[in-house]
């Protein structure tokens, strides 16, 4: 069985002009010819060599702190921005090479949908719930017949448990939970194969969070979608996801089934994330606290672990060699010098 989405060694690098190098090629040429300055443009590594796959019907959790490249990655998968290098295979087709400006004409445009963060902000305030849900049906499926459009929108509303009389309302006339339903309805209206959920519950009150999560689980079964679930809330990830990947400064540091990540985390960063969850019930885990801020993603040292400096375990080795990918078992790996398992030689060679 081929994976629905297969991402291979994807990178997004941003060249920063202004310091050292200039964006203008002519200026740069003049400068290198007339002075002895080394031509070096600093490069921000937003996403740096990420590979993973999602099977049909699977839900994958993506966790990591802000600035680790989650949103850049999501933007590339939804083809809103172009990767610098790497492949995005969606149902066997390489969509990574299609320029983002031309992607809207591809059939895959319908198959990948996003539910954006914070329904209060992401809904168009001048669109009624009906308009919002009808928009992708008109634009992507080309439904123009008014009666058919209404029938389709009502069908979606029923699917997401949105009372039909609310369809004529504007976002400011609806509650948080209702807006979340509209937001989800818009995304599932065109029956996508992959749904990317960017923090779908973080802006909601606890009292409605559970019902939205249950709705997502039900929709996934009914429509046979795969989920990429981006979230800060690890408790929610644990409830919803089959597998989890953990990102740190543009790279995946650990990947495994939800059970493995939460009960037997190998990477110190994953451990810190899990022990930061408030009140994990009886038998609370040992507290791992991180100090300081992440390193800069601009020109990271290729021969050091990016977590070095914040890592409670950090040793000399971590500053001298990039950690290898250590396979704990067939489904679980961690990128750390100290993970238990068999090392795969994918990182830089140890000296």
């Amino acid at each position: 069985m081929t994976a629905l989405l297969d991402v291979r060694d994807i990178r997004k690098l941003y060249a920063l002009a202004g310091q050292g190098g200039s964006g203008n090629p002519l200026l740069r040429w003049v400068r290198t010819r007339l002075t002895s300055a080394v031509d070096h443009t600093p490069v921000l590594h937003a996403v740096d060599g990420v590979s993973f796959s999602i099977d049909g019907g699977e839900s994958l959790g993506l966790v990591g702190e802000s600035g680790c490249g989650k949103s850049t990655l999501v933007g590339m998968l939804a083809r809103l921005s172009d990767p610098t290098s790497g492949d995005i295979l969606f149902a066997g087709q390489n969509i990574g090479t299609v320029p983002s400006k031309q992607f809207h004409a591809r059939p895959e445009r319908t198959d990948i949908q996003i539910v954006f963060q914070d329904p209060h902000e992401s809904l168009n305030p001048r669109f009624t719930a009906f308009d919002t849900i009808a928009e992708p049906l008109r634009g992507l499926q080309g439904i123009t017949d008014a009666a058919e459009l209404r029938r389709k929108v009502e069908e979606v509303a029923v699917q997401v448990d949105l009372p039909l009389q609310l369809l004529s309302r504007f976002p400011h006339q609806m509650s948080g939970g209702q807006k979340a339903r509209v937001n989800i309805g818009r995304a599932v209206a065109v029956s996508p194969k992959l749904l990317i959920l960017d923090e779908p519950t973080s802006a909601l009150d606890v009292s409605v969070q559970a019902v939205i999560l249950k709705l997502l689980v039900r929709l996934k079964q009914e429509l046979g979608m795969s989920y990429l679930f981006v979230s800060h809330d690890l408790n929610v990830v644990r409830l919803l996801c089959d597998r989890v990947i953990v990102m740190y400064l543009g790279q995946i540091v650990e990947s495994g089934t939800a059970e493995e990540i939460f009960t037997r985390p190998q990477h110190p960063y994953t451990r810190a994330l899990i022990s930061a969850i408030p009140n994990t019930g009886p038998g609370a885990v040992e507290r791992v606290r991180l100090s300081g801020d992440p390193k800069s993603p601009i020109d990271p040292d290729p021969n050091a672990c990016r977590f070095h400096g914040r890592c409670p375990k950090g040793e000399d080795l971590c500053a001298r060699a990039a950690p290898p990918k250590v396979m704990v078992n067939a489904t679980h790996y961690a990128v750390c010098h100290f993970a238990e398992g068999t090392a795969q030689d994918s990182g830089a060679e140890n000296d």
Binding site: E65, S66, G281, R289
Partner: protein, 323 residues
Amino acid sequence: MDKRIPVLRVEDLDVEFRTRSGIVRALQNVSFEVHRGEMVGIVGESGSGKSVSAMTAMGILDPAGQVTKGAITLGGLDVLNASESTLQEMRGREVSMIFQSPRTALNPIRTVGKQIADVLRRHGSATRQTAREMAIKALMSVRIPDPERRHDAYPFELSGGMCQRIMIAMALSCRPELLIADEPTTGLDVTTQAAIMDLIKELAVERNMATVLITHDLAMAADYCDRIVVMHAGHVIESAPTAELFAAPKHPYTAKLMKATPRGEGSLDDIDSIAGSLPDLRTELPPCRFSARCERHEDICDTPPLAAQELSPGHFVTCRRPL
């Protein structure tokens, strides 16, 4: 009941907002106390009156809001009848507040060191000569690495967690008796969130300070608070020591709230949402504002007056039919 004199005592507080679409009864009969060295969590959904209670206690209620009943005593001072100049003296020196989203709360065009020095010069003993030194000390106390250099940084040069540390340094620079933290970790990363809460707790214990933590996250309140006050639609519906509240919640809403919070263990079937939403506070409401959402509702619930009853020492519940 506790015999000590509380740092903050709120008694039978009613607050109304006069708006164009009617009078919003934002708080009704709100009472709670905070003692020295204690961390009290105020928990509830958005719109339940958590922040309004705190703002009223600091005397910074929006002009549209009016206190119609009740009393607030803060360190012996009658807040509701005090003059604005007395309140200004009190704020910053005896009571401080940490707001959510530190980036917007800080002045973007002033270095953080100067902003701390402002507080120290207004309320503390700092002079122009000693201000810098004292501000650096304040930065050190919130474990900011390299405080000499950070003193001259602007907020945009610092991360969200670092900005929140600056806010804490500012709030605590004059050693207040009471700290009110209004959702101090919203918008921060999980790891930073834990570090900030650890810091607040540590400083509170170190200084034997009274702390009010306003949050919608029951799990976080459980982790850090000694006592929890649960609010719903402008009412305090239950207050109890943390361990007791979690072992045996008495109000149906508290029990539901716990059931709705995802925990580490268990499956999706174990969590349950709360039906309905907060009632419209502009309309005439039954004595129990939760009655429309409550499964245990019976006719007796609609007969006023509804008062808090003490079920066991320190455990209050405002319900006719407690669990």
